[in-house]
Symmetry: D3
Subunit: 139 residues, 6 copies
């Protein structure tokens, strides 16, 4: 059976600030620059979730995309969209809200439920701006 990748894009608008509580404001500013401005900023994040699997004999789908979309919304988007990543998001608690940490945390939120759909999470890509993005493949 062929192994196929399917990708679903979702979006969320969120605010955040890069700053370690155990560093001074001066050090945070030196290391994180404008991303550490005291009152935060925000982004329209784009998220691509890629799933790998074989086709279902009945539907020819790797997985039903509307079900996949619903799952991503329940596990990830509803916690992030129109939220402050540093304050509101359970799976980001205690972590710097860097795009790296977001991508890894989203991977861990999705890995098990996507397995339960009968396929495998292949990649999570988070784009913070049109120039910057991060991908995680579970390695």
């Amino acid at each position: 059976m062929p192994k196929i990748l399917i990708t679903r894009r979702e979006r969320f608008a969120a605010s955040h600030r890069l700053a370690r509580a155990d560093w001074s404001d001066a050090r945070n500013l030196e290391v994180f620059g404008k991303c550490s401005n005291p009152n935060g900023h925000g982004h329209n994040y784009e998220l691509w979730v890629t799933v790998k699997g074989e086709q279902d004999l009945g539907t020819s789908f790797v997985t039903d995309l509307s079900r996949l979309s619903r799952l991503i919304n329940e596990r990830v988007i509803q916690h992030l969209d129109h939220k402050n990543i540093d304050v509101d998001v359970p799976f980001m608690r205690g972590k710097l809200s860097s795009t790296e940490n977001l991508a890894v945390a989203i991977w861990h939120e999705l890995e098990a439920p996507i397995k339960a759909l009968g396929c495998a999470l292949h990649g999570v890509k988070v784009q913070e701006t049109e120039n910057n993005s991060v991908e995680y493949h579970g390695e």
Copy 2:
């Protein structure tokens, strides 16, 4: 002499929250929905500034685009980029951070200095998400 429009795109990443201080949290939430979530959210805003004028006989330019870009950055972008619109931005003080108010405020920041370049501000367009945008033409 032909009248020509030139448009410069700039971008800023900012956080904000829609909420009136003279309304209860409940009323803010009822009217503004998720845009009123207590800890704010954010966007990658895109800004298009359109200028109208005649061509300079020497350069054939309506206006020098790098000068126009510098002006937009000094007057607008540096105040908004990686900032919290509700707290950090002088020209938004005391105003709801709606896209409508942003577009009108940016118009007023740019109108005079663009006139000083020898041309006329024609339009300000602010895009908040890929689905929503606001334009103001000074009417």
Copy 3:
């Protein structure tokens, strides 16, 4: 009070075929080319609805964008999305499914209910492919 334009993008995926019932297949093919292929084809249409008005003193909005989106979905998108424009769409009955006719018909579906929101429909833009689009301003 300033007059401001706000634009909402919506999307629909639909099939259609350009062919007049009162023309022969040969003539349809000669005039409409591949757009007249007998079994139809389809597009991911993009629709931009632009509304003009003054700001509400309470919200600073020209109109609430989620209400505008709901209105466009009820009046237009639900009739077109995942449909055959030539067969399924009440407001396109008896008309060629050209992008021109779509834009004008969508204008007529939206003009009155947008007036009822307290603002004015300013423009309807329908993009059929990345290279082709049509705009109607009610002239």
Copy 4:
């Protein structure tokens, strides 16, 4: 010799409907939702074909892109563009017109002729909407 990937994008506008002939309309609707609406719908599909190979010593090309484009058009695009995938497309006969099946079928149409150009087909990506896409790498 370095191994390089080159990618060519092509586009096609097509209609289709997801429905199994051996299922009732009710079951098709339950499983495929709006994609099973009786009169079909359509998309502007985007296709990215990625080829892998070494550079030609004379031209420095992995393969001539205008030749690759011609090949993709002859083998794939001319059969799909402005067509009904369920009725008109030889290589989709008897298959559900899911994006998964499209990507695999296009792979099989292109694998041999691209080998004949002296390089290897590396991936076929089909995007159905701005939110959904499928990739096949011949695994």
Copy 5:
């Protein structure tokens, strides 16, 4: 009869250099900056041609888009695509290859033949980079 706007996008890849023959290299560099670098540079230009008119009673088209595309290609694109604007393009001879001059010159190439199609040229927009564009409406 309603007045409708239709827009066709075309593209061309061209090289150019901003420099006046009657100015020294030093002055050109001072005024035009990196756009005056001695060996030139280039862009993927995008061109949107907007035409205004009433619908044909037979086809419902303002004008046939494939005919409009052919006209734009014959009059404009074939002279610019994969060319050096400063050397190769008849309608740019003796002019600085600024985006302003390009937009006005393209307007003059297209105005009469579009009138001959039975509609009116409404606007020419030339985008030089994702951040810079110029529009001319014949004023």
Copy 6:
């Protein structure tokens, strides 16, 4: 420690011509077509540089993106932007200015300095037009 990919996009506008000095103009034209037009042409190139590594324990970054951007600008973009690739670019000297050669040359410019940042260059993607791109992964 998880292995993460981060990607930075940069852009450059450059001119070039495909032509071998040891071939006649006629042969160059036959092989390279319009890309060999005598006075050259140009593109808005887009460059994606992908870096792979583990997260820094202090910042959670794979590498600081503004530092990565500065490095790409110093080593690559400043040599290519608003330049003629065939004449002005040290690392393209003596090579055909094909997208394949560009991608491989950019890889070699970036491999060592990115290693010095403590991570590994994973991929270089160069997009010449919206339809054509080349990727190199150092194989």
